[in-house]
Subunit: 397 residues, 2 copies
């Protein structure tokens, strides 16, 4: 708390108006969730949000006290005081609007506004929370509402890296990255920023600076694409081990099959990620897709129950594999460089890594491979695309 206070005061003394968004103390949110789940399992409950939001409430009070104890002026704001209005989707609410006048008044009075992250209030005045990492989203939303110069996000790492430094010791801190790339990196497993905070930053053009709580070194700037000084081809390599693969074989190659297959999964709130349909042969085709690993068993059961004509009464046309991972390369530069996919496949082939599934977007190529090759694949791609070099020194593809 004292460190946060010191940082706020240092910034204020440089002549800035400072609004700081604070999250709960380490472990506190889990402690509170445990109290609630001891009584009731369902975490998507109005009352669970009442309980869990106290973590941030304690933090803002303590930070405001610490700022004043260090000689500054400060005032805390809870979600219902800011006022951060959300929808009523408890535990995963989305911000609808911010009535920021109370914050502006505090700033105008020379106070540091200390704002509770992760929480809001719905139209009826019920407390809501924004989901894991929601304080990032609060921060960016407040920055947008206040038209702030920058939203600095302090975290326990010193920025966004070209890949997980635990896997690849030569991983390099990225100086500047576009929102689009950051979104791909975030959703693919770089757990530095909550995805929605980046989406929000992109929507409102908020410049985000991800940096370390423990140092004064600059971290990674997440900025609009045109502002990125260095147009690199590939900015990062990520790996996700959270998915499983399901294949349905011998599907009739007629219109409407895919829709019938995926409808019951959508109804059951199972999010399907990659989908690949084979070229039809002899009037039948195969369909392969990935789902979150925790949902794989349920997905197979739902298909057996809902579309037995497609997957067989006993589900005998379903095959699955839990031992997979998804390795991806991300970069806005690949829009104009056709050769990235080819290079990626060659690099994996050189290390004898078999590709099971491929999906591509404008700025990303993902391959599903056997889980046991995850680390090897990341290392070979990171090296192959020369990501440990400064961007200017990387060879063209």
């Amino acid at each position: 708390m004292r460190n946060v206070a010191a940082r706020c005061l240092a910034t204020a003394r440089q002549g800035h108006q400072v609004a700081v968004v604070v999250s709960a103390m380490s472990g506190e949110t889990n402690r509170l969730l445990k109290l609630a789940s001891a009584i009731q399992e369902d975490p998507n409950d109005r009352e669970v949000d009442v309980i869990v939001s106290t973590g941030e409430q304690v933090s803002v009070g303590l930070v405001a006290l610490a700022i004043r104890a260090a000689g500054g002026k400060a005032r805390s704001f809870l979600g219902h005081q800011c006022k951060i209005v959300t929808d009523s989707a408890f535990s995963r609410a989305r911000i609808v609007s911010i009535e920021s006048q109370p914050i502006k008044d505090a700033l105008a009075a020379g106070e540091i506004a200390v704002i509770a992250g992760f929480q809001g209030v719905d139209e009826r005045g019920s407390i809501t929370t924004l989901g894991r990492g929601g304080s990032d989203t609060t921060g960016v939303a407040i920055a947008a509402a206040l038209n702030a110069d920058v939203c600095e996000i302090y975290t326990d790492v010193d920025g966004v890296y070209t890949t997980d430094p635990n896997l690849v010791p030569t991983a390099r801190k990225i100086e500047r990255i576009s929102y689009e790339e950051m979104l791909e990196l975030a959703s693919l497993g770089a757990k530095v920023l909550q995805i929605r905070s980046v989406e929000l930053g992109m929507k409102y053009g908020v410049r985000i600076h991800v940096r370390s709580s423990f140092s004064d070194q600059p971290g990674t700037w997440v900025v609009p694409e045109e502002a990125a000084m260095e147009k690199v081809i590939v900015s990062g390599v990520t790996v996700s081990k959270d998915e499983a693969k399901i294949t349905v074989e011998d599907l009739p190659d007629v219109a409407g099959v895919a829709a019938r297959l995926f409808a019951p999964l959508a109804d059951a709130n199972i999010s399907v990620d990659m989908i690949v349909q084979n070229q039809a042969y002899d009037g039948t085709t195969d369909l392969t897709f990935t789902v979150p690993k925790g949902d794989r068993k349920r997905a197979c059961e739902i298909l057996k129950a809902k579309v037995p004509d497609l997957v067989g009464q006993a589900g005998d046309r379903i095959a699955f594999d839990d031992e997979i991972c998804k390795v991806s390369v991300v970069g806005v530069g690949m829009r104009s460089h056709a050769g990235i996919a080819k290079t990626m496949f060659e690099l994996l082939a050189k290390d004898s890594i078999n590709i099971q599934l491929i999906s591509t977007s404008e700025i990303k190529i993902s391959c599903v491979i056997a889980r046991k090759y995850a680390e090897l694949a990341v290392q070979c791609l990171h090296e192959g695309f020369a990501l440990s070099q400064p961007p200017s020194e990387r060879p063209g593809v």
Copy 2:
């Protein structure tokens, strides 16, 4: 939490609408105060209330969950949702009004309203707290606002006793007691109910039932005086060891001396309790009074600094005694019984307990005696007034 939920549901199933006021879990308020005081000593701070009020916030969420887990309907309310409006005296705020429509709506919808005790919100929307035991006050205030049949206060004792059962094993649970008597008992050291909750109950005619959380036995009813079935003469004996005695000797017996003496103490927020002025003799008089023990030293210093002409430059006319206690008998019946004081003095004299100071009110007689006689005095008075007998069997005085 489950016990509270079960009790609420049992009451609801008897056909009652139920609003329950919940306090923090045991030890939680102290834990939160400690977090705050580690950063800043002053507990009378807007931000400390933000922190401390989370204890009740967690409790209401858990109780609401527990009620639903047990099959009931429930909705939690925080101070700013109820809405309990207070003044802005942080850490000791007083309730100004309750906008109870949200609670009434919940009750009308068949929900149990689970209300956070101890907290409110001031006109600016800042969170406030009501001071130690504030949940009692919240309970009575909510009962008044809802026009409730009764305010049941669940505590760790099973009612109000004729004296401290730890001192006198034959102490008897009081079945019915008037607000006035309860106020005297509460302020004199029976720590069962927060004084303000009793004042509020008296003001709005809320019938209060103080009872045990751990049993279904009836406890003590605190009710308007006319409703008290049994007009007993003495209802209880209390003792307080929290005061010290100060005597200023040889004061000039002229008008305005007392005012000059007590003004600087009032300015320093030192509350003076008993005041006794001796009959003047030779143009001078003595003035003896009691103050909270913790303030005794400060009081003497203030007098020396502010009115040296009254107490002497070196304060040599001030005498004090920290080793005192105040023993009191309380009862509305003594209004019409002149003999109570005489009996009290005789009982103390019989045990050779010297009385240092006497003060009386309509329903109370207090004597300051040496601290070492505290327990002896309580026992002799309790026995002397036959308080261990049922009220109907007590002999007249």
